[in-house]
């Protein structure tokens, strides 16, 4: 495949109109992710309730089409989910684009997120696709009220 095939319609549309592209004023968990190489720079905001359900989610910042659409699809995939399910999805996603070990089962879980699979062939862009996911990981591990910082290099 060539780089062009990466930019499928769904990615282009999420880039243009990212879902949940907002700051949550009442977030319980916030993380800030930067990719110093590209300058991609995003915040992710989670509102997790007492039952550990992600009640609301938002992200904002700036970055390339891959990072932004990946963030957008992330938010719409985990909103309303239990944080352990979100965390599992995150693992599946990272495995999908950083290894050759992704199982069929895992791909089924990922659903439309598998459109990012092709990024695997572009090692430098892998960091774009995983940036918001790494921020999610950090947010889920953080204490309530804390803002964590991550950087992909």
């Amino acid at each position: 495949m060539t780089g062009r095939d990466l930019y499928q319609d769904m990615i282009m549309s999420h880039n243009k109109k990212p879902r949940n592209f907002k700051k949550l004023e009442d977030a319980t968990h916030i993380a800030h992710g930067v990719n110093p190489l590209c300058g991609d720079d995003f915040y992710i905001y989670l509102k997790v309730n007492e039952d550990n359900i992600i009640e609301d989610i938002g992200f904002d910042g700036s970055g390339c089409a891959i990072s932004k659409s990946s963030g957008s699809l992330l938010t719409s995939s985990i909103i309303g989910k239990h944080i352990s399910d979100a965390s599992e999805l995150k693992d599946c996603f990272i495995e999908l684009i950083t290894s050759d070990n992704s199982t069929e089962e895992s791909k089924q879980k990922l659903g439309k997120l598998t459109i990012f699979e092709g990024v695997k062939d572009y090692p430098i862009r892998v960091k774009c696709a995983t940036l918001v996911w790494r921020a999610l990981e950090s947010a889920l591990e953080s204490k309530v009220g804390e803002t964590t910082e991550i950087s992909t290099e």
Binding site: T2, G3, R4, D5, Y7, C38, D40, S62, A65, Y122
Partner: protein, 399 residues
Amino acid sequence: MNNESIVKQFPVIEKEGLHYLDSAATCQKPNCVIDAMTNFYKEEYATVHRGIYDLSQKSTIKYNNVRRQIKDFIGAKSEKEVIFTRGATEAINLVANGFAAFISEGDEIVVTETEHHANLLPWQKIAKQKKAKLIVIPILDSGDLILDNIDKIINQNTKIIAIQHVSNVLGTIHPIETIIKKAHSIGAKVLIDACQSVSHIPINVMSLDCDFLCFSGHKCYGPTGIGVLYGKEELLNKMEPYQLGGDMIRTVTFEESTFAELPMKFEAGTPPIVEVIGLGEAINFIKKIGLEKISSIEKELLEYALKEFKKIKTLKVIGDTKNKTGVISFTLENAHPHDIGTLCDSFGVAIRAGHHCSQTTMQHYNVAATARASFACYNTKKDIDKLVEALLYIEEMFE
């Protein structure tokens, strides 16, 4: 443009469907450079300086000849002023490390707003260590230095000015002659980072009268792993050695060691022998074509590209000075530079996207990154046509 005979000498450039426009990052190598190293490894390889057998003596002679060649190429006074390093980064770290002894609290070190990290961070570190001030010469949006305040910026407290000859992001050619004169008028020294000029513009360190100058081999058609530091003999003599080890000593006991004369004093350890041989051949290559010819090819490419870029409505060239080499940074209104980079690649066009190791330049223009196309003597208008085709496609794709 008439550079077919040059193009043919570059095996990577000759590859079908590849349009290499990232020469500001690193140059492709002509066959003569690659072959010189291959043949050296296959026929003549031995250590230098120390072997008394024939192979090593020949190796030493060839090695030393390159030092003479470089002395001539940059117009140094003596071979003692030519130090082989592993690259420009090491050269600058060496100077900063050795020059630190001459810097005290309150002194000022001057850089430009568009320095490469290699010529910023070592000075930032020395400034912190010595409680000196790091002073920045700002730029206009054109990429040209603002020199109105130069008498304030370069003043009695200034000890050294570390300045790029040409910006690797914008291609701006800085008026280093003016700055060197100004610096010397108050007794400050000047280091020229010539990474982006040495294979594009003729340079003569004696007529420039700069105190230090450095460049990397891999950006001037030579191999990786080699660079050059020029320094005035008198200054280099005053500076402490940088790395310590074999070949740079005179006598060693456990109590005390004494060091060799220039240039060996700054060349600890087994040098990058074969890389030096390759660099010599790269200098030959440049001399054979001639820097005037190289620079006229690149100028023509630059003008053509700037003209063609007008066809792309949402494209913005960053830094529109007239006084520049074949380096163009640009953005598209709706596409992020990294997307531009990946999509250009799908057209076979290799351009660079990112901060180009100069985050302060990005900060000036308030962008996270730019896309950059840069030219060398092996590029043709076809490369630019393909780039424009790709950019038009990308522009449409991102509307």
